[in-house]
């Protein structure tokens, strides 16, 4: 009973106060035949034994510490400053609940308000919410918001094939029982914004593109946004927050919503989660946006203070009339991202973006110089790029793994037309030596 503090004497006193004989007597409402089933679970471990067992399980993994990684595809191996974890481990933050009682939750509330501000400023938008589960569900919620904006009267979503395949799959799942038709994938993975613009019509509720796109390419979407607006549709950009350290903001391009995955902002890769879905919009749409929002106010003592606001949009008030059922946010991860951006500031955010950019371009140039390898696209790119390989990516990656390298993402998994294409990611952590070593091993492949 590691975490149960009762002594037998206290337990018996409490039972006597209640007026029952035993703990079992408290469960008589449960059908006797189903009461106290056997649980086939291993016997309890002490903390010492559990710590050892978990360490052993963790050691069975080969991580990005053990291997040199060129894997990205939506999750990036950035440096996480030490201060973040030290602050996240403060029990005052991580063992608190949703700040429904603002008098004793100003720490969480002000931190979320600052997170909202940082995300809004980074994306060039008016307002950010307190976050969604991840990048994929943030995109699905953007679709949800557009459906609600047009009261389901517009039924077309134009979504670029350059939006992360798992985000598109998630959106398909969310909309499978609705009348929504999602188009755009058929334009093909190498399509440009112009090809997408042709799919926009008067029935289009939302246009969704990714920036940089899944293949790392950077497009100026201003014109596409104008086309969307001319048709009366909303325009959503799925952005990589690291890239926004140097690139023109989606806000400047006229986006109505900017959403994305916040993992690059100081959050551990942790085999896929928990991460952070950021979500921003224009002031005029704020009441249509799902998710928690923190606003500034004052308290009864004349102090500036923060509070959850516009709650009538949410499920606990609106119930079946709410547009989304979300009733949490990724609070602790939003805090991590807020601390990350505060630590890096203008200088650090720009530096990380530029380091990623320069190193990725060095890697791209070196890889493209290997016989048999070439870059798939000639548009500008950020820190990720697609490479056409002389053979199967799976086999190349198996060869790389033998040398202690995690190769890039196999694009053929999601795009049949991109068989033998690898998506290579580079971050500020990747060194020139590591890139040169990768090129050397790939050269061996090309000679095979």
């Amino acid at each position: 009973m590691t975490y149960i503090p009762h002594s037998p004497k206290e337990r018996d006193e409490m039972l006597a106060t209640i007026g029952v004989e035993s703990l079992e007597d408290l469960f008589k409402a449960i059908p006797a035949v189903h009461r106290y089933p056997d649980l086939d679970l291993p016997p309890a471990l002490t903390e010492m034994e559990a710590a050892a067992e978990l360490s052993e399980i963790a050691l069975a993994n080969e991580t990005t510490n053990d291997l040199v990684s060129f894997l990205g595809a939506g999750v990036y191996n950035h440096y996480i400053p030490a201060a973040i974890n030290h602050l996240l481990l403060r029990g005052e933050f991580y063992t608190a609940y949703t700040p429904y009682q603002p008098e004793i939750s100003q720490g969480t509330l002000q931190a979320i308000f600052e997170y909202q501000s940082l995300i809004a400023n980074l994306t060039g938008m008016d307002v950010a919410n307190a976050s969604h589960y991840d990048g994929a569900t943030a995109v699905a919620e953007a679709v949800n918001m557009a459906m609600s904006q047009f009261r389901n009267k517009r039924t077309r979503i134009v979504m670029s094939a350059g939006v992360h395949p798992q985000y598109r799959a998630t959106t398909d799942t969310y909309t499978q029982f609705s009348d929504m038709e999602i188009v755009g994938a058929e334009a093909g993975p190498s399509s440009t914004p112009d090809a997408l613009a042709e799919l926009i019509n008067e029935n289009t509720a939302l246009v969704v593109v990714q920036y940089p796109d899944f293949f790392g390419r950077i497009f100026d979407y201003t014109k596409l946004g104008e086309t969307a607006h001319e048709a009366g549709a909303l325009f959503c950009v799925v952005a990589n927050p690291t890239a926004l350290g140097m690139l023109k903001t989606p806000g400047e391009m006229g986006a109505d919503m900017v959403v994305g995955e916040g993992q690059p902002l100081g959050i551990a890769m942790s085999y896929g989660g928990p991460y952070l879905g950021f979500f921003t919009t224009r002031e005029k749409y704020v009441r249509k946006m799902a998710g928690r929002l923190v606003g500034e106010s004052v308290d009864s003592r004349g102090q500036r203070a923060f509070v959850l606001t516009l709650t009538p949009r949410e499920q606990h008030i609106k119930r079946e009339r709410a547009t989304s059922n979300i009733c949490s946010n990724q609070g602790l991860l939003a805090l991590a991202a807020g601390i990350y951006m505060s630590l890096l500031g203008q200088t650090g955010m720009r530096q990380v973006a530029e380091l990623c950019y320069h190193k990725a371009h060095y890697a791209a140039e070196r890889i493209a110089s290997i016989p048999g390898f070439e870059l798939c696209h000639d548009e500008p790119f950020f820190h990720e790029f697609a490479v056409c390989c002389p053979g199967s990516v799976e086999e190349i990656n198996a060869h790389l793994l033998e040398h202690g390298f995690l190769g890039g993402y196999d694009l053929g998994q999601d795009y049949p037309e991109l068989e033998n294409h690898m998506l290579v990611a580079v971050t500020e952590k990747t060194s020139k030596e590591e890139i040169d070593a990768l090129v050397e091993i790939l050269s061996e492949v090309s000679h095979d």
Partner: protein, 501 residues
Amino acid sequence: MTDFNLTEAPKIVEPTIYELSSPGRTGVTYPDPDVPRAKLPDELLRKELPLPELSEVDVIRHFVKLSTFNYSVDSGFYPLGSCTMKYNPKINEDTARLPGFANLHPLQPIETTQGALMLMYQLQEWLKEISGFDAITLQPAAGAHGEFVGVLVMRAYHRDRNDNKRTKMLIPDSAHGTNPATSAMSGLKVVQIPSDERGNVDLEALRAEADDTLVGMMLTNPNTLGLFDENVEEVCRIVHEAGGLMYGDGANMNALLGIAKMADLGFDVMHYNLHKTFSTPHGGGGPGSGPVVVTAELAQFLPAPIVAVVEEEADGLPPLYGLVDPSKTVGRVKAFNGHFGMFVRAFTYIAMHGPDGLRDISEYAVLNANYLLTRLRDAYHVPYDRICMHEFVAEGRWKDAPDIHALDVAKRLMDYGFHPPTNYFPLIVHEALMIEPTETENKGTLDAFVDAMLKIADEAHTSPNLLHEAPTKTPFGRLDEVKAAKELILCCWLPEDYGNQ
């Protein structure tokens, strides 16, 4: 109503990071590039990056200061009903941060992630065993997300049978708001079923709605009154006879570990809340984790992917774990592999409890709730008064103290050093105070809480202003929520003349 002084500029207790910013500072430095600089795409660059600039010590002091404004489980008793604010063991934070877990990319080849996959597989097996179900997905990111997955699976089941007339979901009037919101979000018509005088589902009302348009019913059990539905098997039978499926909202599983298996009671689908029942921390509002368990009949519809043995153990080699898609999957509900960090914590917690320890959790959670109920029922009216499970609902109102509301009781509790219970929920109780102590609180803490509650009941009659003006001993007083909603200040910026400072 609290009076707010809106004429003077508000006093700033802790500046925002924007107000603390000073041009030229940074909290992290990075090395110069070790590769030649590439040409930047000039026309695609942003002109300004209006983020604050602070040193590391500025950032640390700011957030440490903010943390002191928070009430948390680590600082005191947090009897927030339906949220299961139990103690979060420290070892869980250490195991989740082991480098072998934290530095794992979700798209790595499975041969390099066998530890993580084995842990997920084992957790799947344990959660199936605890609930009695046959199949599971760990994907859902939170309880509400799990509900959404469960409802999608139920709809997929009917669609697969070409039974397309089913568009109605039954939901008790005591349900969490997420239940009707989830059903509506999935395009279903919600029909509310009343509770009877013992707090159970009203069987007559249920029978009247149980027809062939039924997708199913979403039922929390124990329900939000903290009561085990005494007719739960009959409820499941009625829904099944109408061809519907029973969804179990597992929000209150802290009452049932080793006490009863939800599948045995007749449920077809259920979501867990790892952040409630299995002690993964609430994080100030998230992340949660909401695995969904189902019967064998529904397994093929679960979201993709799930963890399975892809090569059996043979020739002294361990089994190979991998990610597979169920045959008629509803699809993917988020990117990657679920909230893995939460799985490590829940795994650690279950491993340290074993079958007997899990049953202890529920027995002592129920003991603590009944102890509080017994000691408070004379001072606070309890509308559905019988042996409760892990929580109970009292009323924060008295006929002879008409100006006092549940909110006032809640705020006054803060002055006594306690986090208030959930108030104004469930909706079927007027001025509800929903109290869930959890198993990790000792008798001394519970007695101190009772003392404070009894004192407040007394003050409500003798000095109501103490309640109306509360809290006075917290770092902040009551908030002007009207001003927040009216002015809608949702974001701050660097001052306009920032660059010239």
